[in-house]
Amino acid sequence: MEKLVNDFSFGLFFWQIIIFVLLLILLRKFAWKPILNAVNDREEGIKNALDSAEKAKLEMQNLQADNEKLLQEARAEREVMMKEAREIKAKMISDAKEDAKTEADKMVAHAQAAIESEKKSAIAELKQQVASLSLEIAEKVVKHELSDKDKQLKLVDEMLGDAKLN
């Protein structure tokens, strides 16, 4: 202990206090404050960056989920549309078929009617011709009758035979 007391140099103690306090003040102002602030800022920055990254990730996930949902909806909608289209197509085809059939029936009916009327007119004309022919024949027969009875009869037979051929 005596050695310690003897070794104690007041001058050195004095200088140590002065130098240390000065060093403390200078370092505090020029080094520690800027360093600690910079480190704090950096840590804050890193924390914020991580937070925002996390947020972005969540947002991304949300967005992806939204996309998935949208896609699902679109798919369902497409399905519905396809189904509808198919139905419409089937309906259109069946309608067309129906129309075509009625049209065809109508046409057939028309045709039949036309045929019928043609037939009637043809028959009527035939009747007229037959009548005129008969008259002609009768006239000739009468003319022939007037000359030769046998010949008349023969003529009538011939005429009739001709008429049959017609």
């Binding site: 140099s9 001058g11 103690f13 130098i19 240390f20 080094a31 600690l36």
Partner: protein, 402 residues
């Protein structure tokens, strides 16, 4: 000992390392103190042998004297010296430092005027002489008076010595080095996008360690900022001075009782002046409302003086710990180097060299460790001082295992 290889383990690891560090410290303290005792015994051997020798100093005495001289502060910056074997004259290589003395007036001159204690210096009618690196007032002949009570020390008056000694120079050098180093680190944040550059890459993690594991761990998240400049300054100041002590410059600043006293005094002042109401209450009324006043008085007669004594014992332990560790380290190291010159043999020489090399490596660790311990304990005391009642409960566990 083990290393943290995995980043994930670092947190657990750093806690465990702290315990390991404390353990290593205890072992080292033991080794160092043991070595110091061994040195003492060794010194006594020398004295027993010495009377048998005739006249001139023995090698062992010379080495012991050299070590004692090295441990002291010096008024000149000696780099090395050489002794002429034939004439016995010693040449010193280095440079003188200014001597500033207050003795009823200011006396200033260069230390070269002492001629390493061989001459008396006259300054404004007063005479001064240098004896074992201490300045004494003397007469024109330079007589030093001794008496039985004081042993080896002269009874002459010692004037107030404010000289710029070797230690002061080293403190200034370290101070400038610290300012340059950490100023450039601080600047590199601005220029390099918040990322340190060069040496800062090495020092930044240390700064962060002090912040996270010393300041925040002991003082708490809310109040650590106030103490950070002191803790950082004291850590790097002690560490750098310790490291300079291991260089061949041969400075022993932190192994000087005046230096450690100054540091401990500053710790004491900061602790005292930042003490909260709860801190003082803890000292003068540690039991609080837990007991009626009649019972408390009986206990407080013993308890309060102990608490008050504790206020002073804490910084005192700080100053003695640093002083003793650094001094012991230097003594052991120099003794082992000295052994080379005593053995002067092909076996003893390399053996001493190997030993001193190993101790040097341990001293490198001790240099860091002592800086760490000083900072750690200072932070702990600041933690006590700045504690408020609410934090007290949560903190108790941390304190108890130290």
């Amino acid at each position: 000992m083990y290393f943290c290889t995995d980043f994930k383990d670092t947190v657990i690891c750093s806690k465990m390392q702290r315990k390991t560090l404390v353990r290593i410290l205890s072992v080292l303290l033991f080794i160092v103190s043991f070595s110091a005792i061994a040195q003492e015994e060794h010194g006594m051997d020398v004295k027993e042998v010495a009377p048998g020798e005739t006249g001139s100093k023995t090698k062992k005495e010379e080495i012991k004297e050299f070590i004692n001289h090295h441990l002291l502060d010096s008024h000149s910056f000696n780099l090395f010296g050489s002794t002429n074997e034939e004439t016995g004259e010693t040449h010193h290589y280095g440079f003188p430092l200014p001597v500033i003395i207050w003795d009823d007036g200011l006396h200033t001159f260069m230390s070269s005027e002492f001629h390493h204690g061989e001459e008396v210096v006259e300054s404004e009618g007063k005479y001064f002489t240098l004896h074992h690196e201490k300045i004494y007032r003397t007469d024109a002949e330079g007589t030093l008076n001794y008496d039985a009570d004081h042993g080896d020390h002269p009874t002459n008056v010692r004037p107030l010595d404010f000289s710029i000694t070797k230690s002061v120079i080293m403190m200034l050098v370290v101070g400038l080095l610290l300012i340059w180093l950490f100023r450039s680190l601080a600047k590199s944040y601005a220029t390099n996008g918040s990322i340190p550059k060069g040496m800062g890459r090495f020092f930044e993690p240390i700064v962060l360690y002090i912040r996270d594991d010393i300041a925040i761990a002991n003082i708490g998240e809310n109040k650590y900022k106030k103490y950070m400049p002191f803790l950082l300054t004291v850590f790097f100041f002690i560490w750098f001075l310790n490291m300079f002590g291991l260089t061949p410059l041969g400075v022993n600043v932190t192994g000087n009782i005046a230096v450690t006293t100054a540091l401990a005094l500053i710790v004491f002042l900061i602790t005292t002046f930042t003490g909260t109401k709860d801190y003082w209450k803890h000292i003068f009324d540690p039991l609080g409302d837990g007991m009626p006043w009649a019972g408390k008085i009986l206990i407080y007669i013993i308890l309060v003086p102990i608490e008050i004594l504790g206020l002073f014992i804490k910084p005192f332990a700080l100053l003695i710990r640093l002083y003793a560790n650094m001094t012991a380290g230097h003594v052991v190291l120099m003794s082992l180097v000295g052994l080379i010159f005593i053995f002067k043999s092909w076996i003893g020489g390399p053996l001493s060299f190997g030993l001193s090399f190993a101790i040097s490596l341990i001293e490198l660790l001790v240099a860091l460790l002592q800086a760490y311990i000083f900072t750690m304990l200072a932070a702990l005391y600041f933690g006590f001082a700045s504690e408020t009642h609410a934090e007290h409960e949560a903190h108790e566990g941390e304190i108890q295992h130290l």
